[in-house]
């Protein structure tokens, strides 16, 4: 394996891993903020207990998201120095904005929220978690604007002498149609993810019939978050699909393994035959659906892989401009399938628990808990599809992945860091999951405990409400 392969594997491993935690952070910060607001507005302690319970699980998750995020920012320079030189003038600014505008906010106010329960006026303390929630969403926007430049470069001009892309219109970079479509898609995915996590954890306590007064409202909120997220995903996914067809037609063709340009292109739900769909026999096929996804019309024309490759050969010179089709084809299906599965689960849970009902079947809740995996599989598949579907480009139509790697960094060096990060990430994953399960099972704090540490106190000798 050469440096390029190792650097790509490292980017894949660290990014997919980082993005296991990011959607939970975005979604759960909102859930915790809503629960705390419900407590403040109703005064009911069940909401306070729910806030503390979910707040703790949120913190277990956010710690992982924060530390793995630093790697993301540094590895562009470490493994992709040629890329950094080429795009830095355009791509660096959104990253700097993210840190300055969003991440400072998030990181500072999370500290105040954790330790401020007995220091701040309740309204001010509540404002802190809302600022955290806002910060996470703003972070997502800037990162997606940076990523959108890789999918659909805008607001730049090529400087041949300097050998780089240079910024001409920052507004265009921030309002890149890909960013505008990917941003709601990502936020809705985060809501779906957090919603499913809330449903699964609450489901555990429904199964044991414990603290239902606390978990029932959380469950309702979880189902609602999942369904709003899910519906938003369908709508935003639809607009993202159309933007993608307009900006990266090859990616849409690769999503369906559509080799020939076709009118009324069908969407195959499942195929058997060769993995790359070249000689596939679709088992379930929905006529015209791909055309609809790509163009908004069931009879629309969808360009095929072979034709696009021929066009690209004319445009960019001889080469192979086809992404790895088996991966794009299956991750696209996995993303949609697991997302729909999560939505279906939320509907079933909602129906089975309506008006105080408790499902009796002994497998009901265990199945619900296992379904917690679905949004994570969908999120990972979605990103793998987005990034692999862009290949061989790192910046579509401008710069190829093979040119982007650091020219002077040796394979042994990259391998060392790949092994190091992977090992540490694996160990931390085990620990984080164990802790998450432990605190998820432990349930919410008792009423007295929750109340004791939730208001400002003048007593100088009182034990600290929250301590590491």
């Amino acid at each position: 394996m050469d440096v390029l392969d190792l650097a790509r594997i490292q980017f894949g491993v660290t990014t997919v891993y980082h993005f296991l935690f990011v959607p939970v952070t975005i979604g759960l910060s909102l859930v915790v903020a809503i629960l705390q607001t419900m407590w403040r507005s109703t005064g009911k302690t069940v909401y306070l207990r729910a806030t503390k319970f979910w707040g703790k699980l949120f913190l277990i998750n956010i710690a992982m998201g924060v530390v793995t995020g630093i790697v993301q920012e540094f590895q562009f320079g470490m493994n992709w120095s040629a890329y950094s030189r080429f795009v830095g003038d355009v791509f660096g600014a959104p990253l700097a904005f993210e840190a300055l505008v969003a991440f400072f906010l998030e990181s500072t106010f999370i500290g105040i929220w954790i330790f401020g329960w007995d220091r701040l006026r309740p309204g001010l303390h509540l404002a802190c978690i809302w600022l955290v929630a806002f910060g996470t969403v703003a972070s997502a926007y800037f990162i997606l604007a940076a990523n959108a430049f890789m999918q659909n470069p805008v607001g730049y001009q090529l400087n041949e002498t300097a050998g780089r892309a240079e910024l001409t219109d920052f507004g265009a970079v921030l309002t890149n149609p890909v960013a505008l479509a990917a941003f709601p898609h990502t936020v809705f995915a985060s809501w779906l993810t957090a919603g499913v996590v809330v449903v699964a954890v609450s489901g555990y306590h429904f199964m044991h019939r414990r603290d239902l007064d606390v978990h029932r409202p959380a469950m309702r909120l979880g189902v609602l978050t999942t369904l709003i997220g899910g519906l938003g995903l369908v709508l935003s996914g639809d607009s993202l699909g159309k933007v993608m067809t307009a900006t990266q037609p090859m990616k849409m063709a690769a999503a369906e393994a559509l080799y020939q340009t076709t009118y009324s292109a069908p969407f195959s739900v499942l195929t058997i035959g060769s993995l790359d769909g070249r000689h596939g026999t679709p088992i379930i096929e929905i006529p015209g659906l791909l055309s609809f996804l790509a163009t908004g019309s069931f009879s629309g024309r969808v360009e095929g892989i072979n034709d696009l490759n021929a066009q690209y050969n004319d445009l960019f010179g001889p080469g192979d401009y086809i992404p790895y089709i088996p991966l794009t084809y299956w991750t696209f299906r996995a993303m949609i399938g697991f997302g729909l599965l999560a939505m279906a689960m939320a509907v079933i849970v909602w129906w089975s628990t309506r008006r105080g009902r408790l499902p009796a079947h002994r497998l009901f809740w265990p199945v619900v808990m296992w379904m917690a995996l679905t949004p994570f599989l969908a999120n990972s598949s979605g990103w793998i599809f987005t990034e692999m579907g862009r290949q061989p480009w790192v910046v579509f139509s401008l710069y190829q992945t093979s040119e982007a790697v650091s020219p002077r960094v040796g394979a042994a060096t990259v391998l060392t860091s790949l092994i190091g990060f992977t090992l540490v990430y694996l160990i931390l994953a085990v620990i984080a999951l164990k802790l998450f399960f432990k605190y998820a099972k432990a349930g919410p704090p008792a009423e007295e405990t929750a109340l004791a540490s939730s208001s400002p106190s003048d007593d100088p000798d009182k034990p600290m409400a929250f301590a590491y």
Partner: protein, 337 residues
């Protein structure tokens, strides 16, 4: 003033801010097994930085992002060239960040001991390595015509860089000790003061050697003033700690770090990563920079948002200004499971 000059200063300010703020976090982490004789003392120590360490670390994220945007070549050459140093810094920061959050969430002594080890290593290792990184930047490294580092990992382990690492390690430890002197009470505060004295004295030797070396090999008039200021501030810190003035001693090490960092950036200017081979291959604030357009937008963002950040981060320190006393650490944490 030219935008490239402004952004060179901005990057210097961001890294300096990071060293001053994260410096005492690192110091507290390193001193954990030394000063924390029992569990509640260790918890009191960690809780002095609990509400702020995460916000402090964002100074690094912002410095990194700003470097990427304002000086793409500097960012690319530095991070790819100093690859393994940054890899180790990242590993340290990862285990340290998780340790803060997870340490208190287990029930066994073994669990806490292991996270303590992560805190110590995750504080000491990055502190030392940041010293090496900065020293190697000032010293310069072999670069090719594309500005890529042509040396090996071992090339970064030179005497000047190792001395820089040692200086930063000890300086941050001293900074942390003065911080604990200020932010804790009773016996713990007194012991922090005592160890601060010894650490301050121990720092003086390598710090003086490192700063004199910097001045002799790379310095100019401005850096000389800053070097002298840094040395005076370090001595003042020692004297103030001796007198039991924890707050002023802490301010003095903050000043030491700020002046020393400013001296290094001053010695570096107008280069950003000099080449030890052909000088034409060296990176300067001019040839490493982004376009005027990008620098202009970044300037507006910094002018608007940096004051806001300073305001709310300052407010955090105000909210948590009260000393952390061991007596206020809850005896038993709320049992789970």
């Amino acid at each position: 003033m030219e935008l490239t000059t402004i952004w060179f200063i901005a990057i210097a300010v961001l890294f300096t801010g990071y060293f001053v703020l994260e410096g005492f976090d690192f110091g507290v982490g390193m001193l954990l097994p030394v000063l924390g004789r029992e569990e509640r003392e260790r918890r009191a120590m960690i809780n002095t930085i609990g509400p702020v360490w995460d916000g402090n670390e964002v100074w690094l994220i912002t410095a990194g992002g700003a470097m990427f945007a304002a000086f793409p070549h500097w960012y690319a050459s530095l991070f790819s060239g100093f690859y393994l140093l940054f890899f180790l810094i990242l590993l340290g920061l990862i285990v340290r960040g998780v340790a803060f959050e997870y340490r208190g969430k287990g029930d066994t002594a073994r669990w806490r001991r292991r996270w303590d080890a992560c805190l110590v290593a995750g504080s000491a290792l990055p502190a030392f390595l940041w010293g090496m990184v900065v020293a190697n930047i000032v010293r310069g490294v072999p670069l090719d015509a594309n500005f890529d580092y042509t040396g090996s990992f071992w090339g970064l382990l030179n005497g000047y860089a190792l001395l820089g690492g040692l200086t930063m390690l000890l300086l941050f430890a001293t900074h942390g000790a003065y911080f604990l002197h200020l932010r804790t009470t009773g016996d713990l505060s007194a012991r922090a003061r005592a160890i601060g004295l010894r650490l301050g004295a121990a720092t003086a030797v390598p710090a003086l050697a490192f700063l004199v070396w910097t001045q002799a090999a790379h310095g100019n008039g401005a850096s000389l003033v800053l070097v002298v200021g840094a040395v005076l501030a370090l001595v003042a810190g020692l004297a103030l700690d001796f007198k039991g003035r924890g707050g002023w001693a802490f301010a003095a090490t903050a000043l030491t770090i700020a002046l020393a960092s400013a001296a290094l950036f001053c010695a570096l200017w107008p280069d950003v990563l000099p080449s030890t081979g052909d000088p034409a291959n060296g990176l300067t604030a001019q040839n490493a920079a982004a376009t005027e357009k990008t620098l202009g937008i970044m300037t507006w963002a910094a002018v608007v948002f940096l004051p806001i950040v300073l305001l709310y981060q300052g407010w955090t320190y105000w909210v948590f200004r009260k000393r952390v006393s061991v007596d206020r650490i809850p005896e038993e944490r709320i049992p789970v499971a």
